[in-house]
Symmetry: C2
Subunit: 295 residues, 2 copies
Amino acid sequence: MIDQHHADSTVSVTVVGFGAMGVPMATRLANSGLTVHVVDPSAEARARADDLGLDAFTVVNESPTCDLVLVLVATGQQLLDAATAATTGRSVRGETWIVSSTVGPNAVRDAAKILRSGGAAVIDAPVTGGVPGAENGTLRFLAAASKAEIDSASKLFAPLGSVVVVGDQVGDGQATKLVNQLCSSVHLAAAAEAVALASRLGLDPSRTVEVISGGSGASWFFDERGPRMARVGDSPDVLTRLAILAKDNSLVEVEADAHQAYVPLLKAAKRQYERAAELGLLEEDDSQLIHAYFD
Amino acid sequence: MIDQHHADSTVSVTVVGFGAMGVPMATRLANSGLTVHVVDPSAEARARADDLGLDAFTVVNESPTCDLVLVLVATGQQLLDAATAATTGRSVRGETWIVSSTVGPNAVRDAAKILRSGGAAVIDAPVTGGVPGAENGTLRFLAAASKAEIDSASKLFAPLGSVVVVGDQVGDGQATKLVNQLCSSVHLAAAAEAVALASRLGLDPSRTVEVISGGSGASWFFDERGPRMARVGDSPDVLTRLAILAKDNSLVEVEADAHQAYVPLLKAAKRQYERAAELGLLEEDDSQLIHAYFD
């Protein structure tokens, strides 16, 4: 998977979190000639990194100081733990940390304080595009930092996708991603609700999805997930785990409540993710939210 | 507006309802060479028809029997009234009625019974595309009828847009449109909720809309209405009245409840249309639903 002939070792990157997104992103970075280290507490993930010829570490303070650190952890606490471990266990001076996890504005601001105190720069850069975007190098980074900081990470961004500058303050990227995820989590539930209604009205759900897709009733999620929802009874391959949108939905709710934002549709969608959890669907393809509307 | 040189009078059409959609549709039909009659109870609407050189009648039983009758009324009751008046006041034999109002499956099925008993054919063909689609001839008719019936109205459909066949039973067109309107009414509210959240999080709403548009968080409504929502404080021209989506939202709810369909997001959106009504926003551009999130 890694094409060693391209390696020129001029830029070194530590990828923190070697999961569904980390594996394809680290692979693309290594193939584009960067020296890539991997940090993951899971022995299985580290074995996979070994197989790919990438140096792997259990915790970030064991990894060498690099030019760039790409953070792909699951939660805000994991981000803070990594920032604390790095600044107390080794030097972060001269490193630029790119936080591409969706963890909310407060977590990335807190982590930035810790990292900057150790001499690192921080780019708040959550992504949209999911695993397919990571595999194909078509992610969109919603980046917030100074122009100089964003430019300093261009060799990391280029092989992974495109950068959309959404602000110059750390936190603006996360905030923008939360707004995107409000839409996404509501649209996924709306798609399931619409496909279920089509069934109840006696329509052919697949034909109905086909007709509505791309028109005035459509959303990116309706068009992408609708066809799999309409094949009710199928068990599709897991392209994106339902747990991801359920997690993001909860994260948006916490931030919205903290800012006294009125988010009734988000909260109505949340109840459907809770139903899906009760039905044991969170590790299924996210199109399977449709079952929350039938069961 | 009407180009009389094209008129060859081979096909006659009665347009029932000369409002925001009826005016541009009747104009296009007349310009494509059809003989067009207009029916509208409003003296103002009839005067406008006169100005355009179209024969205008107060009620449908005063109008002559035509080849095609295009129904663009606002409610199911108005459709039933028109069907009853036509079948009791004059002959409908040989006419094909194209019901393009959004009135729900039951109303169009009841009207079809009445009209068929008088010898008319019925095509259930609600439209998407709104006033811009009517003006530009880019409407999409979600048509349900036999192929022969749909073919018999091709001279009406051609100048107005495209036909998507969604079923062969009267009612299937309305049902498909309801599913589309579930998505539309939820997506409009989700867009308002997202833009309001962007403001609360301290982001520039216009920039946030720009970044999210066209990506994984987008919907047709987000992309189209979002920019106008983001200019909070502006009073945009009324492109589509908020009352239209509010009416369709209620219509979907009635049908969903009748079929015991679970539609929690639709109901959450409904509350926002009710807030908008309380705020006196229903005659405003539908992007102004944003105020339900701030006021």
